[in-house]
Symmetry: none
Subunit: 322 residues, 5 copies
């Protein structure tokens, strides 16, 4: 694997005795951000949440993507007010959701909890064969509501990828015109992806990260790549790589280039595993995490305890604005 | 099932000796409504119909959706003037219909019967496999006609769901810009829905209610979920839930969050059953009902008798503006 | 003077022994109103205020037109919340004001007090020689806020009249497109008016009423014409007419044609005089009154007493919707 | 003078033994602000500067309005970088300037110093007889740059007032559409103002504050009214009022209603006088101050010492968000 | 084969003793270019790169088209900064890439390395059966960034060709309006192409070049046609032509007419072969080459050595501006 690129010199060793290396994040000033994008991202990176240039984001779009089924684990979480409270009390960098929840629930938190307006989505009901997320909101909606970023899902590799790129073009242009940072949920999908190792393979995640960079993402949300037997179906040389999980994720961060990387939480996992995942991600140069079910499917007190632990970890990775 | 959320404290017991609990509706002031939406909804909720924050709506879009076949039961109902008269005499909160009927029949009732302009529709002729309702009117049409809300059908789960979301985006944005309340007819549809318990399953209705909330509905019209053997095909935990009809519907109301809930009448049913359905819905926190065939397929005198009974029931559920 | 035109047969004699005749108002159905305009005007004429097809409107644009000087007589009236409360408690048909007060104060009264958005205005500071009121809001603002009408001041006879007509064209067209009733404040102004009897002369008021009709007003607000020596400077035959105040005002109502007439209150006057002015206006076929300073410069209790008297008078003039 | 209106109950007495009364500021939640405006204003009021709902703003538009002449007192101040550094080190709530300085100097401070984009201006060279400030930027420029508010100068009473109102309409509408707070520099101007007591008279300042409220300002910047012999030329009752400076300023704050009040610094004055002016303003319900020359015409160390004193004062007037 | 067309008289013999003929390139003045297009192309042809009317272009869109897989051969190349450095140090005429890389990496090289903004693309994941590249940027983006040309891929023969033509129409029109040169990546694709000799056949490449000319390309990028057994499936007379590689390529150049021709590098090949390919192309009238993987998959020192060789060759083919 290559040396860290475009990101200054890495810190030498991981302080807390780990074997791994800690890769620095590229300074904000190197990212070609317009003043508006820089202003808005700075709010999330330095003025809210753990700060120090990190991101701790609470998504609540699962009611659309998966349906109310996700809320059974913690019935209180069915009420979006719950997630807003959690974001406020847990001092998240921002909450990410669709226009309907923003219109109906954000007004009480305007000025307190930063908003990321998720701009496209779909339900989990129809087949994913032609996966495509339609717009549910616009960049101008985000501006109107005082959001600090927008989110957009690209299904990399889907047969509907061409419509997706076209739709994203409009979003990207509006965002550029209005100084609004764009966070791309970069998700590999579709049968061609499945045939090459699957959506969790390094091949797929790595490619998706690069696509987000190429299309204009300021931040890219990726899933952690998972090695499996199916990797053998990936194109060379992915089919023969023998990378540690840390190396694999570092590879993805490098492919994302000057797009900051957010790690997706995915389904609820154990605490130790989760915290280890966070450290590994931050060591590899990630900017932060976006954890939904791992947060609001817990009892609130437990979630707040976890956010305190996350804040503590993130403080270790603080970098000054630059 | 969880405690009532986002709606203040519930009334403790049902006053008139019922076994069930009566759940309050969230106050209008908590819904994040713009002044225009609040003004228009207040007219329907407090100035017309039964009042007290309830809705009794008469739809007459079945001529488009089903064809004239629905009017054979009461031939007088074929003339849209019939439904306008019924809405006026029965003191409905509003009448809901498409642009053609609005243009040709509403002018005589302008200022007397509030109008909900239904903005999209389809015929019942082509297969429902790719169910999608095209626009028949616009929010600006509704403003021009003096309507107090617009209606839009989303077929949740349809393979054409992506086009539906895109089309709805335009409607939602115009409605926001012009202060026009949006009522979403949230209908599960398509083979994937059929394979998971069907369009009347709690899974499907519950998901549809949440989708409407996420996309920006101010009011959501849902069908009453119907338990059946097919529920076993629903995703867990829906496949093993053992909820009473009251509990199921309450679940749906909670998923709709700060979108007010209208109960659909569906096909004509017996009077006792119908009134019981209304009470059960209102107990569960519904805002009102939208009954078409159950109203205008009866002889007019019978329909007016029924509306008086409905007014009486709704008075029991009156809440002050707030 | 001609017989009442376009307005059915007049009631024969004034019931309470008056010498004068009572002229009916033209039925709403005769006015060529679009459904949207009819719907919105019906709310003001029949659903709020005294009803029966009358209008009792509370204007609070004097803070812009005259400055805070008008509020010294009743210091509580400096706070716009005062006028909103008065409109609500006194059951006015609507409150009329500019966008700034609408944005900041209306939200609490949305759904309770109907709104007339005044669309243009000026301060009383610069010379009136080129009197012209610029737009402060738009018809779309009015729609967005849920207003039931817009107000626009035309300075008839002003040297800036050409710009005024052009500006009004845009308002009138937007209002037509969106079904929004237009109330024209028809005010004679300028040195040419002064040279022909002055802005209170029958010549000037009569001409202004006709201009409003010609340009597309749905309702016209006029001042009561005041006979004086200066009438001799008016063009023939105005310079030799010897009409009673009642006849003069009836003349103006006829010139306004199918534009409904609102009588302006002007400066605060005595109660008996005010009530007499109201009766005289209604006898002459006026639709209602728009009284500001005569209302909110009084102590509130006194104002509410006066509104009760006005409601009682207006009930005498009720006409059914038609 | 009337009791405080629309602003909850006043605190009873000034804690630190002052003779005067301390008037509270209206809570943010009462101002009818959209979520976007609320979010952006909250950043200035609570997240930057002294906080606690106060504003300490540094304007640097004098280079346009007066020319480089203002920078001779402190030559370092000629470089706009100086004011940016001062804003950052002195922890101002925001810096206010025109598009040129924003484009050329803000990028280094994006994310650190909040921006208020001043949208119109003029030079001091032509006569003020027809005072009118043309647009130099747009609300969309402000959004693009990540500004938290826009500033607009209205010359109340100027013969060009009609063009000013028209121009402001476009700004106000864009700001509403994009959720951008509007700060109006409300300046009386013109010969008619001069003839009625002058631009510093209570009559003029009071009227200007109300005009800003009526036209849609969220915040209004006013000069402190100055009593003089010329007040006798003001319209009654202003010509006979005998108000203390505190009472005069409180009068202006009340006329501004739900528009927050910023006090202008004007020319450089002595420190004691300046601090006393600040206290008096805050006691009267002002939200904060906008001091330019009083800040950057001093040596920097002196200016920073002064900002520390201002921060200390403002802390006394902190109110919680509501 | 026909005589060179539209391009003046060819140079008579190849100076350095080659057997082949050297065909001149058409003078810039003969191409019907608007002043803007001519200005921008002149920068690439004469002011940067080898000059003399030639083009040496470095593309870096493979991260999107192929994924990060292409960067394994030279890990440093994963960082787009690498290609920018290579373009600068190797004195390329321009670098060609997508909007995301342009936004994030170009700012440091603006004014140093000319930019070609690639406007459409796709990933290599879904099947090529319906090959279509969606827009990722716009001509206006290119203008905004200071690009000197835009690139657009047309998949000639793809079943999605109709959508492609439509999409290109918009690009071509914007480019015409804004004076922006258009470089068309003319790629034969699809099963119908495969059935007629394949995408590398002379039939296919020749047809693609003409299509680019017909649709409005200013420059066309083609692959070198490769003779094979499959040519027998090409339509007559392509199925029986017996042309040398030089003749084949010259045929393609002639079909491109007044669109300048760029030769694509394709996969990495040996140095001697590459240089020979360049000479052959230039002899045949090509304007230059666009070599990506052949450049940045090498160690940088090696790549720079190669660019020096290419510069030397291009100097031989210099033509004066005309």
């Amino acid at each position: 694997m290559s040396e860290p690129s475009g990101s200054g010199s890495p810190s030498d060793v991981r302080p807390q005795g780990g074997a791994g290396r800690r890769w620095p994040r590229p300074p904000l000033s190197s990212l070609g951000l317009s003043p508006g994008k820089k202003t808005r991202l700075s709010r999330l990176l330095y003025e809210h949440g753990p700060g120090g240039g990190t991101l701790l984001i609470l998504p609540i779009d699962q009611g659309l993507e998966h349906g109310p089924v996700d809320f059974f684990a913690n019935p209180a979480s069915l009420d979006p007010e719950y997630q807003f409270e959690l974001a406020r009390e847990g001092r998240f960098s921002a909450i990410a959701l669709h226009i309907g929840l923003a219109e109906k629930y954000f007004h009480r938190y305007a000025g307190t909890v930063p908003l990321i307006l998720k701009l496209n989505g779909k339900t989990g009901i129809p087949s994913d064969a032609q996966a495509f997320s339609s717009l549910t909101g616009t960049v101008e909606d985000a501006v109107r509501l005082g959001a600090d970023a927008v989110g957009y899902t690209i299904y990399v590799g889907s047969p509907a990828q061409d419509r997706d790129f076209s739709q994203f073009l409009g979003v990207r242009r509006d965002a550029e015109r209005l100084g609004m940072p764009v966070i791309v949920w970069a998700y590999p999908r579709g049968e061609a992806v499945a045939a090459r190792g699957g959506k969790e393979s390094l091949y797929a995640v790595d490619y998706a990260a690069r696509v987000a960079l190429e299309l204009g993402a300021d931040v890219v949300k990726v899933n952690y790549p998972v090695a499996s037997e199916k990797d053998k179906q990936s194109p060379a040389p992915y089919n023969t790589l023998a990378l540690s999980p840390e190396q694999s994720f570092r590879k993805v961060v490098e492919s994302a280039g000057r797009a900051m990387v957010l790690v997706s939480g995915g389904e609820k996992i154990g605490d130790a595993e989760l915290l280890e995942k966070v450290r590994m991600s931050m060591d590899a140069g990630a900017t932060g995490i976006i954890f939904g079910r791992n947060m609001w499917q817990r009892p609130k007190a437990d979630a707040l305890r976890m956010t305190r632990e996350l804040h503590a970890i993130f403080r270790e990775y603080a970098q000054p604005p630059a």
